[in-house]
Amino acid sequence: MDRILVGLKRVIDYNVRVQVKSDGTGVETDGVKMSINPFDEIALEEALRIKERGEANEVIAVSIGTSEAQQQLRTGLAMGADRAILVTADGYLDPLSVSRIFLSLAEKENAGLVMLGKQAIDGDNSQIAQMLAALWGRPQATFASGVTLDGDTARVVREIDAGLETVEVDLPAVISVDLRLNEPRYVKLPDIMKAKKKPLDEVALADLGIEAGPEVKELSYAPPEARQRGVMVEDVAGLVAALKDKGLA
């Protein structure tokens, strides 16, 4: 296989306690730490391992968003991606449009694999891989916790509700990755220096000639209903009594 495309979304870091803005227009992002979506780091790590095994020639990191996503792409380059593409778009983009962007890049770059996260931890949508596969007319293997390549096919172990499912797909294909697939490598300082010289191309969304999907409008944001702190019991006898009180034992 020649190329692997990897999606790296810039999202609020998973350690941040996300707060809804008081006017309900979204969540606080001012001064908030941003990172690569954790699943996407795993997707990139897997792509790099495939390349290191000699099963692919080039790994291309792709991000769609504001120019600030350059930071996440530079991190991806430091991890080992060969080059990066930033599709600049301001504001909210619906999943179907994001999928159309990935389709256009997958075709242009003649990708053998597109590796994405199983979900972006901002919108928690879990849609892009499935939509891209539908638009591209190629296989999808979502929630991957094991990937092995064999010539023109890939064997993917998927984490599903019933356990671990194995599917075989013909390449090119779209894979979305789950957390247990691998542990992403740490970026070392010399790699960060080297990454500065790697190509990072910017393309404006308008230049790709992509038609926006019929949007799902976000009307308002609200904090979730909070649960209250309950009672503390001293010992097992207290716990059993409290459960009996509630009719639970």
């Binding site: 999928s99 596969a133 539908a134 007319g137 984490e159 356990g163 194995t166 013909d170 459960l243």
Partner: protein
């Protein structure tokens, strides 16, 4: 008027309870007419179970050898072809529905709404984002078909007792062969199913080993409960992946949830937001889980869990 098509989830023999939960969600759309579509290699028993769900008008069936396994690239084109005059196409937000419904949406040229937790109107819904730290109200354009997954933990299964009409449907579409089912390694046990159990006992990293995780199974058996786990416990290999509860595991809503040696990370808590009573056992009184637990016990689990098991046996 709303006409909802619900994609049945099943294992080839039995209908998954997630389907009746999707019906409950669809029924909260004013005046909705509800159809279920069953795609399987043998539809008989599954269709009969679907026909019993209260509120269902018709059960459409597509019996094809290719439908033996739930491969989205195979199911989605058939569902898109059958969507016809339906205004809504719903599936459960289980791994089955999450894998399938965005594929259906893209074939229909629309966006998808993930994890509906409440219906505000026929085209507007509430859903969780940021691991449940925010709830967003979304609106699908009027006149656009609504393709969505239903957050099953937000709904009680619709009742039984119905006898809806069962009709064979045909979806004459070419199906790809590029994706092949190889096998399923199932952690299936005799214990109540995690997603539908009325009580669930979960263990975390503190259990320390696969052998000691047995303490969790024993307590669960005393309560006839399902068994769950934190991601840390699954990652460490104490138990299988299908037991993970949380943002990237299962979202559950049992009447009773007992978390043992689990710190209460936001990604875990988002999976049990709708639980009735949360009990936490943790040796650290500062553990975040105590901020949301209804009953808390600060103690060493290795001491108190065996005591609790014998007290409840």
């Amino acid at each position: 008027m709303a006409k909802v098509l619900i994609v049945a989830e099943h294992d080839g023999k039995t209908l998954n309870p997630s389907t009746a939960k999707c019906v409950a969600c669809a029924a909260s759309i004013d005046g909705a007419e509800i159809d279920i579509v069953v795609l399987a290699a043998a539809v008989g028993d599954i269709a009969a179970q679907a026909a019993e769900i209260a509120g269902v008008s018709r059960v459409l069936t597509v019996e094809r050898a290719e439908n033996e396994y739930p491969i989205s690239a195979i199911l989605a084109p058939q569902i898109a072809a059958l969507a016809g005059d339906h205004t809504h196409v719903f599936g459960p937000s289980t791994t089955f529905g999450k894998d399938l419904m965005p594929h259906v949406a893209a074939l229909l040229g629309v966006n998808q709404v993930s994890d509906i937790m409440s219906v505000e109107s026929s085209h507007s819904f509430k859903r969780p984002v940021y691991a449940g730290n925010a709830i967003v109200t979304v609106e699908v354009a009027e006149g656009s078909v609504v393709v969505a997954t239903v957050r099953v933990a937000s709904y009680q299964a619709a009742a039984g007792g119905n006898s809806a009409a069962v009709e064979a449907a045909s979806a004459d579409v070419a199906l790809p062969t590029h994706t092949r089912f190889v096998g399923l390694e199932s952690g299936a046990s005799d214990r109540p199913d995690l997603q539908t159990a009325t009580s669930v006992v979960s263990g975390g990293r503190a259990l320390g080993s696969e052998e000691d995780f047995d303490l969790i199974y024993k307590l669960a058996d005393a309560l006839n409960a399902g068994v769950g786990a934190s991601r840390a416990a699954v990652d460490a290999g104490y138990c299988p992946n299908d037991m993970q509860v949380g943002q990237t595991g299962k979202i559950i809503a049992p009447d009773l949830y007992i978390a043992i040696g689990i710190s209460g990370a936001i990604q875990h808590m988002t999976g049990i937001k709708d639980a009735g009573t949360i009990v936490a056992i943790n040796k650290d009184e500062e553990a975040p889980i105590f901020e949301v637990a209804d009953i808390g016990l600060v103690a060493d689990l290795f001491k108190v869990v065996p005591e609790l098991t014998s007290a409840l046996s």
